[in-house]
């Protein structure tokens, strides 16, 4: 796999394309939207400064970099911030559902939540998600199905206001 450096325009394009999904991904570790944003910004600022070589699949690099930076940020925190603000906005305005979705995503195994975030909010195909994660298409697809099944256990679309948490 060849490495290359990115121009500022490339970096900005990647930010537009992957920024929101990366914030969701960082929220999985930080549980705080502002800190997740800071983590993502830190990664892109480093890219903007130049001198960083990224592989042919920059999305994979970005997710790895965000994960590492978010874990570092989490380690440096005295304690985890309470989950007060979601990194999702529900179109119907259901804030509780948005918070519950974030919590459910954080309960998924890491590799499963990653592929869901890449596919649903990163707009990537399963092929692209597999390449970014460095796994085969079959592996990515099975992770994705498992993740959706687990999320469906938590959520059921009900009516115009969106989901409700399934009572166990």
């Amino acid at each position: 796999m060849a490495d290359n450096t990115l121009s500022p325009d490339d970096v900005r394009r990647l930010y537009e394309q992957h920024g929101p999904a990366l914030v969701v991904y960082a929220c999985r570790y930080t549980t705080d939207v502002a800190r997740a944003e800071d983590v993502v910004h830190g990664i892109f600022h480093r890219l903007l400064r130049g001198g960083v070589t990224v592989p042919d699949h920059p999305a994979g690099y970005l997710y790895r970099a965000v994960r590492n930076a978010a874990l570092n940020a989490l380690r440096n925190e005295a304690r985890a911030a309470p989950l007060g603000e979601s990194c999702f906005v529900h179109r119907g305005g259901n804030r509780e559902a948005a918070l519950a979705l974030q919590e459910a995503l954080s309960e998924l195994p890491e590799e499963q939540s990653e592929v869901v975030i890449m596919r649903i909010w990163g707009g990537m195909t399963l092929n692209e998600a597999a390449a970014a994660s460095g796994v085969t298409l079959n592996t990515a697809a099975s992770r994705y199905r498992y993740a959706l099944a687990k999320l469906r256990e938590k959520f059921q679309p009900q009516g115009p206001r969106g989901p409700k948490e399934k009572k166990s």
């Binding site: 970096v11 930010y15 914030v23 910004h41 480093r46 400064r49 999702f88 906005v89 179109r91 999320l151």
Partner: protein, 126 residues
């Protein structure tokens, strides 16, 4: 992919990821290093200038002048400031010394009345 899965995907897409704030321009690292270099250069120049000024001050003038300078400076830079009480005591104890002392002080801090060019000479006459 089955229909329920697609429906659930659509449902999940009802949740939009929060758009992060715009990416700010990162500071130019070259500018950063040039700034530090410039600050170091200014510091170095100011040190060199100070050292040069000190050296120049020490080396200016003839040896005789330089030899006389410390004595003159010592005389001028150490005026004997007396308090009002000590002036009074001196006047009572030794009026002649008081006159001498006042004369010495007048060369440093007080206008002299007894010089031909003094503008205060008129007052001295009165």
């Amino acid at each position: 992919m089955s229909d329920p899965e697609e429906q659930f995907e659509d449902f999940l897409r009802e949740f939009e990821a929060v758009r992060p704030r715009a990416l700010q321009q990162a500071p130019d690292p070259h500018l950063y290093y040039w700034g530090r270099f410039a600050a170091a250069a200014v510091l170095l120049l100011s040190c060199a200038l100070s050292a040069w000024l000190v050296w120049r001050g020490q080396s200016s003038g003839s040896p005789a002048q330089r030899a006389a300078l410390p004595l003159q400076s010592a005389e001028q830079s150490q005026p004997r400031h007396r308090s009002l009480i000590s002036w009074t005591q001196l006047a009572l104890r030794d009026p002649q010394s008081l006159d001498q002392e006042l004369d010495a002080q007048s060369r440093i801090v007080l206008p002299r009345f007894n010089l031909p060019q003094s503008t205060l000479r008129v007052l001295a006459k009165e």
